[in-house]
Symmetry: D2
Subunit: 356 residues, 4 copies
């Protein structure tokens, strides 16, 4: 079925494998009249590309978006927007060594179990490369939201990596480093930790915090398509994410009701434990989401596995790999939050009590 489609009104369908000719996305429901060109999308894609940070590989992977439809004279027309990104490494190395192996922590085994066939080159559809299409779509959602006048914006930052938590939030500093880490002191420790782990042939995970500002009250559709439910799905659909929190999140479970409730005054809510969402509907405060990202499963250390005939094997990933998904997953999380909000902005227009 339509497992590669997200959203009901602002609806995106992605396609493409890691080592096929290209990947892309078709966006339906974007209203007409939105100014859009490739440069807007390129800007977001550039933030996702492998950087020069200590956690990244040195591979070059220039992601150039091509808009194939839905734009006329620089504006959206209301028809489907098709964006394609060519894969430049498509005819890459020999994958025969892992073609029949199930890499631990990857989808090799489960894709095999589900489909009985899998494109093993670079992970195929399960590759993190798939998120490039999400980022492209998120850029369109961002452009749409920026142009409808609420000044909605989504930021994110790394709040923990390899078990090291930030202790302050210096947004200017976060913007200056590829980890989008807002604490210079913590970043120093993180880089040290990454170096150690790299040497041991292992990898690290971390925690991101994503914040949407200026989201109007009233978005979200009870009882299943609640704004937080859709955000949880959006975030958990990112391969490496294993936990999602909204507002006070896990902390909510240890607070009392009095401490967790956000009391209300004529000037607004006194706190934001709810993370900007009450009963599944935005309340006008910042929407605050935290995602917990597992360490990258491809490691140099030897691991036990089996091949597709069930024979035991030892796997040691060769070549250069990212040590941590964090630097690159920030723009993906932002894209997903933009997509959720754009979808619910349109859904709210449809149900709006105003006369049409």
């Amino acid at each position: 079925m339509s497992g590669s489609t997200f959203g009901k009104c602002f609806q995106v369908s992605t396609w493409g494998e890691s080592h096929g000719p290209a990947l892309g996305v078709v966006i339906q429901g974007c209203p007409p009249g939105i100014e859009l060109d490739e440069s807007v999308i390129q800007k977001s894609l550039d933030k996702r590309k492998p950087g020069h940070g200590v956690a990244s590989t040195k591979r070059k992977e220039p992601d150039i978006p091509e808009i194939m439809s839905g734009i006329f004279e620089g504006k959206t027309t209301g028809t489907p927007i098709s964006i394609m990104i060519r894969n430049h490494d498509a005819k890459s190395r020999d994958y025969s060594d892992i073609a029949s192996l199930f890499r631990p922590g990857h989808g090799d085994f489960t894709y095999h179990a589900k489909y009985g066939i899998r494109d093993y080159r670079g992970g195929g559809r399960a590759s993190a490369r798939e998120t490039a299409a999400r980022v492209a779509a998120g850029a369109v959602a961002e452009a749409f939201l920026r142009q409808i006048g609420h000044n909605i914006s989504v930021d994110s930052m790394t709040v923990a990596l390899g078990g090291i938590w930030i202790e302050k939030k210096d947004f200017a500093f976060a913007a200056s480093n590829s980890f989008e880490c807002p604490d210079q002191n913590a970043l120093g420790k993180i880089e040290k930790r990454i170096d150690e782990v790299r040497k041991s042939g292992d990898s690290l995970g971390g925690v991101l915090e994503i914040t949407a500002r200026n989201v109007p009250a009233g978005l979200g559709e009870p009882v299943f398509d609640k704004l937080d439910a859709d955000i949880a799905k959006a975030m958990m659909s990112i391969g490496a994410v294993k936990a999602v929190e909204i507002g006070s999140g896990c902390e909510a479970a240890v607070k009392t009701g009095f401490d967790n409730n956000d009391q209300i005054t004529p000037s607004g809510f006194e706190s934001n434990n709810c993370g900007g969402i009450l009963a599944g509907i935005s309340n006008g405060d910042d929407i605050v989401v935290r995602v917990h990202v597992k360490p990258i499963p491809s490691i140099l250390k030897e691991q036990k596995t089996v091949d597709d005939k069930g024979n035991p094997c030892v796997l040691s990933t060769r070549g250069r790999h990212d040590i941590c998904a964090i630097p690159r997953i920030n723009p993906v999380c932002r894209a997903m939050l933009y997509l959720v909000i754009a979808d619910h902005v349109l859904r709210q227009k449809a149900i709006s009590p105003q006369k049409s």
Copy 2:
């Protein structure tokens, strides 16, 4: 739009307000030939009803399911199954005191912002009473899954309440107490904590762990309708849930790749940090989910709020209220997991590589 519908193949649409004449659910896509009657649903509903535990109110709320369609001679026919549960307290007390107030922690403000009108009696659609329809639907999903032969079952238990965590898992004990708490020692502390908090007019949250067993490998649809993504949405759509973890969850973010990967041997996965899901597809191991539940927002302590004209007010909830949602939220979480699995079992049938 269709915010009250969940699932694509096994699809449920709930309706009803806390104090309307009834609430209910329409289930589409349940295959024909499944044995089903009201007693099956009643059994699940009974587990959700206000118990006699220390955290619960003494209110009586007999939830009697009536099957209105889709069953013939004790079996499903493949047509929509409509289940209705009458509200017995429909014509209850005078709500004029809170009709114009926005209760902190509740959806009063956001429903007002979204719809411009709201049924304020008992929370209307935002009431936890809505979950009775989910539990009824979950009972149908459970019956379907039980009868197709995989022996799929979903259990859940309380692993923390009011900040007190369990230290052992005694399933027999969990089945014996209304908190579904598997640690007798922890339960003692929890009951004490609840007593204290009740006296102070406050409330508590907690953490549940839900486990699905015997789920076949291959369920889940990349890249957005991943099994974990749909579970995250399902759980976060429950009003009180503020965080969802899969497998090692938040812990995954502090582990190294080597420690977090589940190595594979001819006899299976050596660990289950992935929580039974790899790349969004079930791997045949137990599916393990944890949800963090906020404290009930209705408390006796005075709180600041405003009315719908923006005037400041003080709110003190009267009457008896639950201190903690935990005892009653267990069956709701189980129902949601049954629904997700039933949906993906059917989705997998549709995409199955087998000849039709």
Copy 3:
């Protein structure tokens, strides 16, 4: 799957069998603030009920709608509207004589082939009784459309019955007779034809024309959810309908382009061969639809059939039956057109280029 759901924004899900306890509909997406009560729905249902016309049976079937949710103090709240209609003949006659027979022209054989089980009492889900839920939903769509200010209205009339075509359109006269036939002369012939056919134990079909007025230009979503495509589906989903035409319809195929094109002047389109829809989008003119209705398959004449073991049998329907579906199918067609338009009004709000 969700075969009993129609519409994407104004979305209805019907349930119920002919001889179950009740049938009903859940409506999602109806905007809040619409005035609605049972009397509005009753009015539409009354037009569908078996009349006293010569083509109808004398059976009594009082359809009383009960609104179970979604209305508060006389207005829609934006939450799902659940409407239930009790079946009063539920525990009716002995059906054992046809329990194992496949009636020609009915869904007995195909339901059996599809589901392997069927509720044979009165046709079960395949009964025309199912359309009562559509009419109830259509009444809600009509109320919504009336209250948003475009003055959208849907009329229909019988333009042929038993091969006898009308020759003039006297709307006042159409409103005065149960056939909704606008030509007194034709009606005389029709009634005579019906009498003849009744005596021979046979039945008749006919043709309806449904017209929607004051539909704003801009409704419909290319390329698949075109307004005419959705109308075609809506009409063809009514059991007895075997053909659907839009505007000049079948005639369009014999005209030249010059004759079929609707030329445009500053005061509007010079003709309406397109039936108010160009390229799948409404153009502001009347939407004109014709449906061709097959004769009722239940007849007194003996027919050949088989039982569910493949044995040949002779079937002769006993009891009183309608001779023609026409008088009762008019309100169903109107309801379906109201539903399509309401859905596309909301869809257009979502995609509207206006700032939100």
Copy 4:
């Protein structure tokens, strides 16, 4: 919203404008393991391309499909199949003469009314060129259906053109001419009629009959997603189609019940007035559909229209244009029927009473 998506289980989303860089389709839900390559798609596209028949233009428009994803080593993998077709005439002539005019019979006015902006080059999204993507998708559905073993096939033929009806069905002859007309005598008259109309600068419509053979009984989902309802939508979503009939179609409305019912014997149905569908579910007989196609609206004759400021103008289309859509619309209708059947085959797998 998602107006460019068709199907629920075998789901296609098309994109692209007549004069953009390309058009294409993303197919979700095609089961894995189906053999597929570009040649299969090319074969269907070739049947749609402008032929050398008397009704066609001489324009060259080589439609070359490129499979961008979802295929690995010659087989579908179960992931989205993306197919792209480049537009070779993208940078074509100057359209400024019609940029501000609303061509009668086209979607110019309605796209303008709906979106406030439109890609006027060659009709943009409303161009018949969009159907190339449908044909590509249909070829995939055909391949899927052929490989699952029922031997399902869809044929179509021209049964009328310019008011001239065929009188015999010689399938071999139909396969030999670009009109897919099965009657040599009728074809002679048709060609003559086309010549006359071409000289007068006008255009013609016609009627097609599409037949699906070997469709198993049991496909279709009451009560809205009936097989005939989905077929009606599929056909009516083709721009030029103004009427759709199933089985006896319009004739059903003038027959008696006895004559229209298909009586049943141990060896099958005695007739096929129902067109292979009873109560919305296939009965195993041929599915027979007729569509009525309007004449092409682009004609050389002068027509009245207005510009986007409401000023009256005279329009005379220049250049070579097709006289009749018929030769090219046959493969589009076949594609749509393949898509509907493929979708319902998968939907039936999901609801199948068999154990999974």
